[in-house]
């Protein structure tokens, strides 16, 4: 009897060991299956998102509807966009140095922008034309664009400075606004060096009323002065990002920040308010 009971115990222990081993094997198989499925899910997730982003199904690129034309730079054809739109936008509006529109308008809209910032491009293509049409052309306000350069430092590039110099050197020729608008129309990737001499020449060649021979990317006394003035204003207003839009009542040093720079209505409201506080012209 004792010998039989010992054999039974042995059998029972072997059975338990087998069950445990089988359970462990099952668990391992289960885990392996889950991890394989998870890997597959990971691939599917990345594929779906990559496909969606690659198809570019967001609202159209700001410049996709702009007319394009070819210009010749150093014997090569280069495509530039938005010349027709730029010509139509500023046609007949006085430009006095950095000021677009009636210099005696009751309010001044100040756009602080960076030529390499994509949000500035969106603003320039989507909102700026409406601001010009509704507020500047009608004489309700004039407009100043003050150029800062935040992106170069962030991206480790230097071409933004060349583009800014070129724009500032055109202030004296009253060609600042169309050139700046054309730079935004033809802006490249913010993290890349795209504002090369060749590209800026092409933009100048495509800018209505300008030409590539008028392009000067050197840091001149004029450009230095305008750069310092723009940066001083940005520091005084504690500008944290671009674009930033402010409205100033004529003859005052009061600046009203318009937080939603893409809202023409908000800018118009700020202009209306500022106009009430405008000082009389001398």
């Amino acid at each position: 009897m004792l010998r039989m009971s010992g054999a039974k115990k042995k059998q029972e222990a072997a059975r338990e060991a087998r069950l445990e081993r089988e359970a462990a094997e099952r668990a391992a198989r289960e885990r392996s299956k889950r991890l394989k499925l998870l890997g597959g899910a990971g691939v599917a997730i990345v594929a779906v998102v990559a496909l969606v982003l690659a198809l570019g199904l967001f609202r159209g690129d700001a410049t996709e509807n702009l007319a394009s034309q070819d210009v010749t730079v150093d014997g090569q054809k280069v495509e530039v966009k938005g010349a027709d739109e730029t010509a139509a936008l500023y046609n007949g509006i006085p430009q006095t140095g950095e000021t677009l529109g009636n210099p005696d308008a009751p309010a001044t809209i100040i756009e602080i922008a960076d030529l390499k910032c994509p949000a500035c491009q969106m603003h320039a293509v989507d909102t700026h034309p409406e601001v010009v049409k509704q507020l500047v052309r009608t004489g309700k306000a004039n407009l100043k664009v003050r150029l800062v350069n935040f992106r170069d430092a962030a991206a480790g590039t230097t071409d933004g400075e060349a583009a800014r110099n070129a724009a500032h050197n055109l202030v004296a020729q009253n060609a600042f606004f169309p050139f700046v608008n054309m730079v935004f129309n033809n802006q490249g990737d913010e993290s890349e060096t795209w504002a090369t001499d060749r590209k800026l020449k092409a933009i100048a060649a495509g800018t209505p009323g300008l030409g590539q021979d008028k392009l000067n990317t050197a840091d001149t006394d004029e450009s230095k002065k305008l750069t310092e003035s723009a940066e001083k204003l940005a520091t005084a207003l504690n500008v944290q990002g671009t674009p930033s839009v402010y409205v100033q009542a004529r003859g005052t040093n009061e600046y009203t920040h318009v937080p939603n720079f893409n809202s023409v209505e908000d800018i118009a409201s700020a202009v209306e308010e500022a106009s009430k506080n405008a000082k009389a012209t001398r």
């Binding site: 359970a23 099952r26 668990a27 289960e30 885990r31 889950r34 991890l35 499925l37 998870l38 899910a41 990971g42 599917a44 997730i45 990345v46 779906v48 998102v49 969606v52 982003l53 199904l57 967001f58 609202r59 159209g60 690129d61 700001a62 994509p118 949000a119 969106m122 913010e190 944290q240 990002g241 671009t242 937080p259 939603n260 720079f261 893409n262 809202s263």
Partner: protein, 153 residues
């Protein structure tokens, strides 16, 4: 219990995310993207606020509704689908956060809230899928605590 707690947390996160997405969709439709916070308005009026001609946040609403629906289902497939749906939402949210913070330099608390909820939902969904359902100490592999509840009821 562990799986049940994670599931409850998922429900809460999905409701928070859904709230953010519904608010953003409402402001986009009702006021063209003007919301309570200026950074939010900047994001909501940018080109990345519309996808296939619809407010991008509407896809967020659909995602959260799908997640809530999947949370009510049992089984391995539902858990895997939760990983996939929340994973797509998570990666997409990260892209939108990049656009908001880096490209637009704008802080949108509702977008950030939704992205945070989606991120946590994804992590929890992965954990729930890898760990599997709750099992009693002597229960068979694959035993789902939810099924026990139904049987007891």
């Amino acid at each position: 219990m562990r799986d049940r707690n994670l599931k409850i947390a998922s429900y809460l996160l999905a409701v928070v995310g859904l709230g953010c997405a519904v608010y953003l969709t409402y402001t986009k439709i009702a006021s063209g993207g003007q919301c309570l916070v200026s950074g939010c308005s900047v994001v909501q009026t940018s080109r990345w606020s519309e996808f296939l001609g619809l407010p991008v946040t509407a896809f967020g609403v659909a995602g959260y509704v799908a997640i809530l629906g999947l949370l009510t289902l049992r089984g391995e497939t539902a858990r895997l689908l939760l990983v996939v749906v929340s994973g797509v939402g998570f990666l997409f949210s990260m892209y939108m956060m990049y656009r908001a913070y880096i490209t637009l330099d704008a802080f949108c608390p509702f977008c950030t809230g939704s992205a945070a909820a989606m991120t946590l939902l994804f992590l929890i969904s992965v954990a729930r899928f890898v760990l599997g359902p709750d099992r009693p100490p002597s229960g068979p592999v694959g035993f789902d605590a939810d099924e026990e509840d139904v049987a007891i009821a």
